[in-house]
């Protein structure tokens, strides 16, 4: 019954939680930028957002960082899947009466919310990243403060005039909130950064992080759709 593991269970959890927390910090930056689209709604050339997006797309530091981000996603997903497969294998035969003693119901569905987030990421990537880079044609250009740049704001607004995309985005982002509601405090526990004194605070902060990120991102497609 020997199954020696390349990385111990705990090492995998450290890496996963660090990647998860890193992704959360990225999400806050991402949310901050995206909200600026709403500022110039109806203007047609979205100067605030486009300029910010242009800065991100041309800044060498951000360009390197982008690959770190892809790697973080990949590692989080791969380790998540490996751990999940091992977990399923640890109980080949389940119970007739399932237990429900977990503290947070979302902890039972991390792999499910994770997989929906992954599908979302692929669609999101096609919707925006590939269009912005011209891999998928259709991007228009605008002149802002004398500088020619991609009109990514218009791409976003066009996508969110489609009710199907809006519905999918809202649902997927809701599940992201569920993932983070458990995930945030889980990462601290995995890193050993939790005790009786600070535990309740970290859990509370996790709820706030999950709600702010999920609602923050959800507002964008909704506002665009209902003001079209």
């Amino acid at each position: 019954m020997s199954n020696k593991r390349v990385y111990s269970s705990l090492t995998k959890k450290y890496v996963m939680s660090l990647m998860g927390l890193f992704l959360i910090t990225f999400l806050f930056v991402h949310l901050g930028l995206n909200l600026s689209v709403l500022k110039d709604l109806g203007s047609g050339d979205y100067p605030t957002f486009n300029e910010a997006a242009h800065f991100m797309a041309t800044n060498p530091f951000i360009q390197v960082f982008q690959w770190v981000l892809f790697a973080a996603f990949l590692i989080h997903i791969i380790f998540g899947l490996i751990l999940q497969f091992q977990n399923w294998a640890s109980r080949p035969k389940g119970y007739k009466v399932k237990g429900s003693a977990e503290e947070n119901i979302f902890s039972q569905y991390m792999i499910h919310t994770g997989i929906v987030i992954f599908i979302f990421l692929v669609i999101h990537f096609v919707n925006f990243f590939m269009v912005s880079k011209g891999i998928i044609p259709g991007i228009q250009h605008v002149k802002i403060n004398g500088e020619e740049m991609e009109n990514l704001g218009k791409v976003i607004v066009d996508v969110f005039h489609n009710g199907y995309y809006v519905t999918f985005y809202v649902l997927a982002l809701l599940l992201l909130g569920f993932h983070l509601d458990h995930g945030f405090q889980s990462a601290f526990q995995s890193l050993g950064l939790q005790n009786k004194k600070y535990g309740p605070f970290i859990k509370g902060l996790g709820h706030v992080v999950a709600i702010v990120l999920a609602l923050g991102f959800i507002i964008i497609p909704l506002v665009i759709y209902f003001t079209k």
């Binding site: 199954n3 294998a89 109980r91 007739k96 977990e102 526990q189």
Partner: protein, 247 residues
């Protein structure tokens, strides 16, 4: 009280096993859960049938031998209670009670409701001890120990190794057990000497035996009859990290 029982019966490790329904009448509300099973077994023996095999020893909540997954809870519905300390007044007349064995790959079924928990012994053998040279008995209290730490170590040492944490965990993870055993030593000066080696060896053994990975659902703490805290898991995560980066 009269009850319907749905009990997992399995002749041996390789038998497929199935649930068998029993009806049992006139059970006193003062009977313990295991006494209720004793009565059932007497009836089965009288009828010439094979009695239900289940683990038990002290029947006073201190040895950790009793197990049983009762209506979706290891050790039944009461908090901080072992199966042997569970009483029938907790149930209602006419209830159906489903009794299952612990389910985990490293805990193979021996017969009916009995599982082999020697995987836990292997984890202890891997590092759950301190090495002391024999000689004269040292005086008590020669090593000063912080009262807070002593209390935490004592709380961790309350673990009776029953395996309810593994049974409750959706991943069949043994983290609560292993972390309690790591913590009870890690918190005390006598245990610090071998702390790094201990945590690495015990975690490696836990992984090797095929227990699942912790996803921090805390079902283990909720179901633990000795209320072992998941802060022990956080402590073990710290200990393991420190051991890995420093040696």
């Amino acid at each position: 009280m009269d009850l319907k029982l749905k009990i997992w019966r399995q002749n041996g490790p390789d038998d497929k096993g199935k649930f068998v329904d029993y009806e049992i009448k006139n059970i006193s509300t003062d009977a313990s859960f295991l006494e209720m099973l004793d009565i059932l077994n007497n009836e089965l023996i009288e009828k010439g049938e094979e009695p239900v095999a289940f683990d038990h020893d002290c029947r006073e909540g201190i040895c950790g031998m009793c197990s049983l997954y009762i209506n979706g809870h290891p050790h039944g519905p009461d908090a901080a209670t072992t199966t042997c300390q569970l009483h029938m007044r907790r149930f209602k007349d006419g209830d159906t009670i489903v009794v299952e064995p612990w389910r985990a790959k490293p805990f193979p079924i021996v017969k009916d409701l009995i599982v082999d928990r020697s995987a836990f012994d292997e984890i202890i053998q891997a590092g759950g001890y301190i090495s002391v040279n024999t000689g004269g008995v040292p005086d008590a209290n020669t090593i000063p120990i912080n009262k807070g730490k002593a209390d935490l170590a004592m709380d961790a040492a309350a673990c009776i190794g029953c395996g309810a944490c593994v049974a409750a965990c959706k991943n069949a993870s043994a983290m609560l057990f292993v972390s309690a055993k790591v913590s009870q030593f890690a918190l005390l000066p006598q245990g610090r000497i071998e702390a790094k080696e201990r945590v690495k060896k015990m975690v490696a053994k836990m992984d090797e035996l095929g227990f699942g990975n912790c996803t921090n659902t805390y079902a283990c703490e909720a179901e633990c009859p000795k209320e072992i805290s998941v802060t022990n898991i956080a402590r073990m995560n710290r200990e393991f990290f420190a051991a890995k980066v420093s040696s």
